[in-house]
């Protein structure tokens, strides 16, 4: 008897639909609490500086001012979001200690009776900063004498002792020497702000039982819970995180930014505290997709076969790691593209600069590689005199092929996807390409 499907093959109304069309869906800042306090942050007005002093005396006189929080109030003030999956060292400060590394870095948090009072007090905090030289370009940051952003003495994330994530497969130099053509390209992409319509926000509420309920619009509830637990040095079972309703994220709400300070402020005041980004904070301070510079050098035979690919990539992590070191690892595993290339060399650098930190956004690490590699494939087609479809079918990987980072291809769909795309745009493929499949090659691999 064939199974009865209730969902497969049908359109199913979303469970949250009625909430969305009636305004009854409760987003984080839709929640009201008696005695709610508002937290706002004093941010660095410059890209790189030594902090000589912070004067709170005028801010404290603003009507409605409740208290300030500085780095001395944060139990474990230095963290790295992905520390729990082994990305180290801890390097980002919840509140700056003696140095700021990007424009917008938090220095002091102000808690006040109203948002207006918090903003007024923030505007009255006097900073004494000694501005330092800053660096904004990934390759400038790697030159001798560049301003050093990190606390470990160079401007790259270190992967098992190496300044880049490396992949070595076959012998690219020997293959370049026998290739009919060398095709090179350099590809630059800009940072992109995820710009969710609802800004990043959390509200922390002290409960009678000693726990804290934290309402948040994070995309990563347990990153937020775990990091808050570490930063505040309280057991996880004292923190009750409630999330799940996110007014747009796209990777922009994966970092742990607002929850630790909101919760700390709730602990210090024993009142509910809201920390919500303004639109300008969301656009100018929250992490973006990284800017990338990608160099590609390909060795190609006259018949269109790619026999060697060398990729050198630089991702601009901004001043801190956030999710970018992880993005480089994903990137290195995919930077040869969905193609079977017998000789590959990849060096992928996660570079620190004085720009705002960068992090997750839709396919981060991969999307930018795809942009570079697919433009590169079109260039190859031009050089060897084939159409863009052909170079891709000729080089497409098959199941059973070995990828450069020594993972067997098990889920290849490039050929079938291109066949479907050709049908959709009405492009007639040659019979040989129409007959191709991603099935393992008869000879057992490329």
């Amino acid at each position: 008897m064939s199974p009865t499907h209730h969902v497969v093959g049908r359109s199913v109304a979303r469970a949250d639909g009625i909430g969305h069309v009636t305004g009854r869906t409760v987003f984080t800042t839709d929640r009201a609490f008696p005695g709610l306090l508002h937290l706002k942050v004093v941010r660095s007005p410059v890209h790189h500086a030594r902090i000589r002093g912070v004067d709170l005396s005028e801010a404290e006189r603003v009507p409605g001012f409740v208290r300030a929080l500085t780095h001395a109030d944060v139990p474990h003030n230095v963290y790295t979001i992905l520390g729990l999956i082994g990305v180290e060292p801890e390097e980002e400060f919840v509140l700056a200690v003696d140095r700021v590394r990007y424009k917008g870095e938090p220095i002091v948090a102000i808690v006040a009776e109203s948002e207006q009072a918090a903003n007024d007090a923030v505007a009255r905090v006097k900073l004494d900063l000694e501005e330092l030289p800053a660096v904004f370009d990934v390759e400038e940051a790697l030159k001798p004498g560049a301003p050093i952003v990190t606390h470990w003495g160079n401007n790259t994330f270190m992967y098992e002792g190496h300044p880049c994530r490396r992949v070595r497969f076959g012998d690219v130099e020997a293959a370049f020497a026998r290739a009919d053509h060398i095709v090179e390209g350099v590809y630059d992409t800009k940072p992109i702000e995820q710009a969710p319509t609802e800004t990043t926000a959390a509200i922390a509420v002290p409960e009678a039982n000693g726990r804290y309920t934290v309402y948040t619009n994070t995309q990563a509830l347990y990153f937020s819970l775990d990091n808050t637990s570490i930063i505040l040095q309280v057991p996880g079972n004292q923190l009750h995180f409630i999330g799940g309703t996110v007014g747009g994220g796209f990777g922009g709400k994966v970092d742990v930014i607002v929850e630790p300070l909101a919760t700390l402020a709730a602990m210090k005041t024993n009142r509910p505290v809201r920390y919500a980004f303004s639109r300008s904070e969301e656009m100018q301070v929250s992490s973006t997709r990284s800017a990338w510079r990608i160099y590609v050098k390909d060795g190609v035979m006259a018949d269109g076969r790619l026999i060697a690919r060398k990729v050198t990539s630089y991702a601009d992590s901004g001043a801190y790691s956030r999710q970018t070191p992880y993005a480089l690892t994903k990137h290195a595993a995919n930077a040869a593209g969905p193609y079977a290339i017998p000789n590959v060399s990849i060096d992928a650098y996660c570079v620190f600069t004085n720009r705002q930190p960068t992090s997750a956004m839709r396919g981060f690490g991969i999307t930018m590689a795809s942009f570079a590699l697919e433009v590169q494939m079109d260039k190859i087609a031009e050089v060897v005199g084939l159409d863009p479809w052909s170079v891709r079918f000729i080089n497409a990987y098959h199941n059973g092929d070995m990828k450069p980072h020594r993972k067997l291809v098990e889920d290849a769909t490039l050929i079938e996807t291109m066949q479907a795309a050709a049908r959709l745009v009405g492009h007639e493929l040659p019979e040989a390409f129409q007959a191709m499949t991603s099935d393992p090659r008869p000879d057992g691999g490329a």
Binding site: D16, G19, T22, A32, A195, T197, E198, T199, G248, S278
Partner: protein, 161 residues
């Protein structure tokens, strides 16, 4: 400056609020009157998520000092449409999948309601023009446009007109 008392109609009921000068209609609706369907994506007139109707006209409530609505009628999604989502426009949004995160949805519904009230059979171009001030960052404009078209076909009472 001292606070003043402002009186206006919120849907069918008269409300009275005490506000400091230059308090926006958005702040009053969300934080004094609990109308949280009035969203706050930008508070600078850039996203349309706070759109309400003032005497039937769509207005971004984040740009309007509440004194401006004294004596006038204000409708939010909560007062303009049923809480069970049974309005044809709400139904069309559900059926067409005209939302992902849902944050822009109240604003989209309010401008669409005002449009259909004035022009029951708008062209696709008119619908697109009308929605132009409202940002959907999940980029679902095509199903939103389709939903407004479907609602226009269905008519206000769910009957073709």
């Amino acid at each position: 400056m001292a606070s003043t008392i402002v009186t206006f109609e919120l849907g069918d009921r008269e409300v009275e609020v005490m506000v400091r000068p230059m308090t926006t209609l958005q702040t009053v609706l969300r934080y004094q009157l609990g109308q949280t369907a009035v969203k706050e994506g930008c508070r600078q007139g850039g996203c349309g998520s706070c759109t309400v109707l003032v005497d039937g006209e769509p207005v971004m409530s984040c740009l309007l000092p509440v004194e401006e609505v004294a004596g006038r009628r204000v409708d939010t999604l909560e007062t303009a449409m049923p809480t069970d989502g049974s309005d044809p426009l709400q139904q069309a949004f559900i059926e067409q999948g005209a939302f992902q995160c849902g944050y822009c949805t109240p604003g989209m519904l309010m401008v669409s309601r005002a449009l259909l009230d004035h022009d029951p059979h708008p062209s696709r171009e008119t619908i697109i023009d009308t929605l132009a001030g409202n940002v959907c960052r999940c980029t679902g404009y095509a199903p939103i446009t389709a939903a407004v078209q479907a609602a226009a076909r269905a008519g206000k009472d769910g009957q073709p007109r």
